[in-house]
Every structure is written in C-alpha cells, then in structure tokens.
C-alpha cells in the first residue's frame, strides 16, 4: 500500500490540524477530518499532480444516533491514474451544515441532494438544494435512526391528491 501511505503522508504534511484519525480495516484506509476544511482538502486531493483523485465514487450520509456529533458525511475518492481508493469521513452535528464539494466534482450535486433529502444534512454553497427522491412537502427524514421503517402513518388509508 505504498501509494496510500504517500496520500496520507502528504495530507498530514499539508493539513496537520485537520486530520483527526487514520484507521485501516481490511486494507482500506479511512481518514477522519474536521468539517471546516473539507473543501480545501478535497481541492488539494483532486488537483495535486501525484495524487489526482479526480473521480468521486460516492458521497453518503451516516447517522450515529446516540453519539454526538450525530451525523457523518463519507466521501469515497478514486484515482484512475494510480488505481487507488481513499475514504474521508467528516462528522457533522445535528443542526450544523457542511460545505458542498460540487464545485470540485459535479457528480456531488445529486449525492448531496440525496443526503439532504434522507438525513436532513444541509450543504452550504449548493446551487440547488431540494428534495430528490421524496416529494416536495414530505415531512421527516427517513434514513434517521428514530424514523420507523413503515413510516409514521402506516395505519391510515392512503389517499393521493390528484
């Protein structure tokens, strides 16, 4: 895993205060970062000529209910040139927001809308933050741990508004 060590080393040199923790499980590296530096770290990882993480594979939310800060936003990056993967994790509190990386990778547009729709995590500087999978006017954030699977009004009959 020589290249992964280079990525982590370069990150630790450039942003020593923002790297909170580096963990390895089953040969996959997770770097926990502070949420205020997300944009700069991602810009560095994308544009650095040795690293070139130009492909954002996935961006998702995570609800760790009784712990605080409650949510985490997980980024999976991939470098086509070096064939390397990296995972970044940033913790976000319940009524806090995190800055959007849509200006770096355009694919983050819909990923962030989905995280907002299902978890309620707001993203700053997002061009168009509204619900994606559920309809406008839906109340509640389904993927949170305190939301029931069947929905809150399972026993009431369903009447669509035409």
């Amino acid at each position: 895993m020589v290249e992964i060590d280079i990525s982590v080393k370069k990150l630790e040199e450039k942003f020593p205060a923002s790297i909170l923790e580096v963990k390895t499980f089953r040969d996959q590296v997770t770097v926990s970062i502070a949420k205020k530096d997300v944009c700069e770290i991602c810009k560095f990882l994308c544009s650095d000529p040795d690293l070139q993480y130009q492909y954002l594979t996935d961006l998702c939310g995570l609800d760790l209910f009784p712990e605080t800060p409650r949510f985490a936003v997980v980024y999976h990056l991939y470098s086509i040139k070096n064939n390397q993967r990296l995972r970044l994790k940033a913790r976000v509190g319940e009524s806090e927001s995190i800055s959007s990386v849509e200006s770096i990778w355009k694919v983050a547009n819909w990923f962030e809308r989905e995280a907002y729709d299902l978890f309620g995590i707001p993203f700053e500087n997002h061009p168009d933050l509204r619900r994606l999978l559920l309809w406008d006017g839906y109340e509640g954030y389904p993927l949170r741990k305190d939301y029931p699977v069947e929905g809150p009004d399972f026993d009431k009959p369903f009447v669509p508004e035409v």
């Binding site: 499980f25 996935d58 995570l62 999976h76 990778w105 355009k106 994606l132 999978l133 939301y147």
Partner: protein, 390 residues
C-alpha cells in the same frame, strides 16, 4: 419587440421511451433543447432503510430487485462486500460459476438494452430477435437457480447449490450459437444509413466531463477512458481469464453502441473459458457460522438442525468495521458500502449505483441538441429506474 419565451414540455413519468418512471422537464427553443431537468424518485422503495432491519442473508433478495436487468451482478456485488467484511475465502469452483453466471447476465442485460434502444429509435425487429435470445439465457437461469428474473443464486460464502446435471451442454449450445446471432444484429444496424444518421455525433460527452460527472461503465468507455473494475481491482478470479476492454473515441451514441456490442462478444468468450476450465470441488465455504449445512444432515442430526435454525433466524455477527467493495455491473460501477456495529443487522448499507451518476450527466449531453435526440441519448446511457431510486 416581443419578448421570447421558451416552451416548457413535460416528458412525463408514463412514457413509452423513458425506461421506467423518469420525468424530464424540457425547455425548448423551437426544436432545440435549451435546458433539461430530470426528476426522479417515482420508484423510491426505501431499500437502504429496509436493509437495516433485516439480517445479512435476508438482504440478498432485496438486491435482486434494484437493477432488475442485471440481478446476478447485483447479488455478486453484495455478497462480495459481506465476504470482505467477514474476511472469508470462497472455493475456486464457486468463483468460476459466479463469473459464468455474471457474464451470462451481462449478455442478457445488453440484449435488453439493444432491443429497447432500437425500438425507441424505430427499429422494432431488434426487440423481437433479442428477446428470443434472452429467453434461452433465462431458461438456463431457471434451471440453475429457480427464478428467471430474480434468481438470488449466490449466498454469503459461495452458492446456494451446485449446477444441475446436463446444464453444461445447454450453456455450450447457447454460446456456440451466439456469434451467429451477433452477426445478424450487425447486419441489421451497424452500417444502416438511418441508424448512422441518428446516432453519429449525437449526445457527445468529453473525457474530462465524463470523469468529473462520475460516469462509469460503457458510457465512460465510449468517451475513451479505459477503466473497468474487472481489470483495475479484480475480484472473484477475473484475473485468470483472458479478455479485453473495448473503448470508443468520440463519446457519441454510436461509440457507446459499438462498445456494448464488443462487450457482448467478450462476455461470450469469458463464459466459454469458464466452461472449459471449471474445477471440481465444494461450492461453499466450510465456515459453520455462516453457511447452511446440507439438507440431508439437517433432517437426521440435531446439531445440524440447531445450526440451520440459528443461521436462518438470527444470522451471524460480523466484526465491527466498514468496507467498500465494487463490481462491474452491466451499466457501470456498482459499489456497496457496509458499516457494521457487531450486531446481526447492517448498521448502514449504502448502494452506489451506476445509473444514478449516468443520469446526472444527461443534461450535459442533450442541451444544445434537438428534441428527437433526447430519446436516442436516454437509450444509449442505458438507465434503469429501479437502480436510480432504490
């Protein structure tokens, strides 16, 4: 001076050429598309939330129903992710059979793509020919696994049961006939003047845009990027087979068409190689906490009965941690991110599907083109709404 406004048209969720329930709101200036906004979510079934209340074994049928044209491929992706989390090895015979089934499923998925894409553009004959070939593959699946569209054949640790008697002859006759059928398809469409006029130069996306927009699969390879998960991060013994990755040049609809046709031929070659080299041996790992005991022992021996009952009702408890594992589905890179907290349900199951990102790239491909090209482009990026909305 009169003020000009653009005409807004709704290409609604019920439409014969959107592959599923997709809604696109188009703004037109005459016949030129100025702005396109896709609206999704009409098939959002809550699979990720549902998976948090089921055991790891019970999630396998849910993955069948996401991208329903590529059910074996979805099963493979999920099962590989859980096996990575547990850290168990799968025997060689099971890996070869998994590759064989996944490649047959890839051929079936590309046949549906070809039939419906040609139907949208106007060539209805292709649909009837392709569905005739696909019936052969589905009959093989029904004999092997029990289900045509949703086989659910793979299990964590191997397969649910071994191949039945006589199936190898049927698969061999299918792969021997297939190149003849491919020649039929090529004579119908590849040099057809109408097809060339409707697909060349339409829906172009450049290399840098495609990478930035997270596009994957044949849509990305049509633009010239040689990236395939089977070669980059080989899984399930793919590195022991001999195949090549077809790449396009321009990134238009015609390039994506040729890339998928060549992929069908290479898949056929891979299935031939697995048949020739299929090793003998067990089809499931021998870890007693994860794999069910054979049925004869369950009916005779009390310890096997208890083990069967515990695995089915409670499941197993993997170690605490998180894994990210991806496979090459027929439409692109399908990835599973599983977070486990040590209990028998997944704490979080995140599914990254290829059609979600490919559809995000759609406005880039159609803005500036004519409205009739919208249909060609939607067909060429090959989206399945069950996968986008999950």
């Amino acid at each position: 001076m009169a003020e000009t406004r653009f005409m807004t048209i709704n290409m609604g969720p019920q439409h014969p050429a959107t592959h599923g329930v997709l809604r696109i709101v188009l703004e037109l200036d005459g016949e030129v598309v100025v702005k396109a906004v896709p609206h999704i979510g009409h098939l959002h079934r809550g699979i990720e939330k549902l998976a948090e209340s089921k055991t790891y074994h019970q999630v396998i049928p849910l993955t069948d129903r996401m991208d329903y044209t590529n059910a074996m491929g979805n099963n493979l992706g999920y099962v590989l992710a859980v096996e990575k989390l547990l850290g168990i090895e799968v025997p060689k015979r099971a890996q070869y059979i998994r590759v064989m089934m996944a490649e047959l499923q890839r051929i079936a998925a590309h046949l549906i793509w070809l039939g419906t894409h040609a139907l949208d553009i106007g060539a209805m004959t292709m649909l009837l020919y392709n569905f005739r070939e696909r019936e052969e593959i589905l009959r093989i699946f029904e004999e092997v696994a029990g289900g045509r569209l949703t086989p659910t054949y793979f299990r964590i640790g191997g397969l649910s049961k071994d191949l039945p008697e006589g199936i190898e002859k049927k698969i061999k006759s299918f792969i021997d006939d297939f190149p003849g059928h491919m020649k039929e398809y090529e004579t119908l469409l590849t040099k057809n003047v109408i097809w060339l006029k409707r697909t060349k130069g339409v829906g172009v996306i450049s290399k840098e845009d495609a990478i930035n927009l997270g596009v994957s699969g044949p849509t990305l390879r049509g633009s010239g990027v040689k990236f395939d998960v089977r070669k980059a991060v080989p899984y399930s013994s793919y590195d022991e087979f001999d195949f090549d990755i077809p790449v396009g040049t321009v990134g238009d609809v015609y390039d994506r068409y040729t890339v998928r046709l060549r992929e069908m031929e290479w898949s056929n070659a891979i299935v031939k190689q697995t048949l020739e080299r299929l090793p003998k041996g067990p089809v499931a790992s021998d870890n007693p906490w994860i794999v069910l005991p054979p049925k004869e022992m369950v009916l005779k021996d009390i310890a096997s009965l208890i083990r069967h009952f515990k695995i089915v009702s409670e499941g197993f408890q993997p170690p605490v941690g998180e894994v990210f594992s991806s496979v090459e589905a027929s439409k692109g890179e399908l990835a599973f991110y599983i977070v486990s907290d040590g209990s028998n349900h997944p704490f979080r199951l995140r599914i990254r599907t290829p059609s979600f990102c490919n559809l995000n790239a759609l406005p880039k491909m159609i803005e500036g083109g004519l409205i009739a090209d919208v249909i060609s482009v939607i067909g060429s990026i090959d989206i399945v709404l069950g996968e986008i909305d999950r």
